[in-house]
Every structure is written in C-alpha cells, then in structure tokens.
Symmetry: C2
Subunit: 106 residues, 2 copies
C-alpha cells in the first residue's frame, strides 16, 4: 500500500480517528468495538473502518475475546512522527539562524 510513516500520518490526519485514538488512550481498559461506538455518532461499521486504519498504522492493537474485540491504543508509532519532525524543528523561528546551525552539524 504505502510506507509506514505515511500510514501513520494518514491515520492521524482524520479528526474522527484522532478522537477515537484519544478515547482509547485515556480509557482505563481496552474497549470493544461496540463500546467505542457508544461514544461517537457514526455507525458501527464506520468505527470498524477507522479502527482498521489505526490498527494498520500500529496505533491500535486488538485482542479478541469470545465474540468481542478489545481495542487498545498504542502511542509508540507516534515516535516516528516525532523523528520525522526533528529535522524540521531546526527551521522553526528565525529560519536563517537555525539553518546555519543545521549546516554546521552536517
């Protein structure tokens, strides 16, 4: 499909997916699909699709128990985003000065 970091970026680019991810992060336990549905105004299948996207990005892990599928957020992949951004931080504010710093270190 697309490379890993693109999957992560795309996953968090959607506001509803960010909401779902957030809900899972702050949940005290893993949540089933139905439990997640309860918090949002979209259909179960809609939620399922978002969860799948998040899962493929590694931002959600799922463990099946009986007929239920419990979802847990995993923030780890966001490290990759952080890594990606590290390069560009040099260019925040007073781009020219920091560009100098960048050139120095290379």
């Amino acid at each position: 499909m697309q490379d890993n970091i693109t999957k992560i970026f795309k996953a968090i680019a959607d506001p509803k997916r960010r909401e779902i991810f957030h809900a899972l992060i702050i949940a005290s336990s893993a949540l089933s699909i139905t439990q997640i549905c309860g918090q949002f105004s979209i259909s179960r299948q809609g939620v399922t699709k978002h969860i799948k996207t998040l899962e493929e990005a590694g931002l959600v892990t799922i463990s099946s128990q009986g007929r239920e599928r419990f979802c847990m957020a995993d923030a780890q992949p966001l490290k990759q985003v952080s890594e990606w951004m590290k390069f560009y931080e040099k260019f925040w504010d007073g781009a020219l000065d920091n560009l100098g710093a960048y050139l120095d270190e290379s």
Copy 2:
C-alpha cells in the same frame, strides 16, 4: 473547510507533498513553481495543487515577482503537530507507568 491542525496533518500526510516541502526547506532560496516542477515527475498543475494545499496549511508562503511565484517553506506550523503529540508522548513505552505520571499531573 477543516480545522487548522487537520489541514496541517493532511498536508504532510501525502508523501509527494512531504517531498516538495523538503525540497523547499533545503533550498537555499525561494523556488518558482517551474523550478519545483523540475524536481518531480508530475505535471505543473499537479505541483501547483500540492503547493496550494501546503500554503493553506501555512507550510509554504508565496511571493509573486512579475510572472513568477516564488515559494518558501515555513516549518512553523509543525509546532502545532508537536504540541498535539506532547500529550501522547506520556504513553510511549511502558504505557502504564507513564499513565501514572499523567494522572498525577492532572
């Protein structure tokens, strides 16, 4: 359209746009649309559209000079991404321990 941070996320979610942004960041001067085109295998209009998306996210600023439009990257909006991520950093590695830290500070 959509809120500001979503625009930023969406802008950088596309790999070609990340490439263009990168090319602009490391360029020693502002680049015209045509100059940017030279580095990528899509049509000029394709580039123009990507530039527009980046511009709307605040990641590119444009100054017109005669018939040319010179583009410059601005990394500043990425700060917002960094801000957004700050919350989730607590949950990297050993989620449980860090969750404790999060609960303490709230």
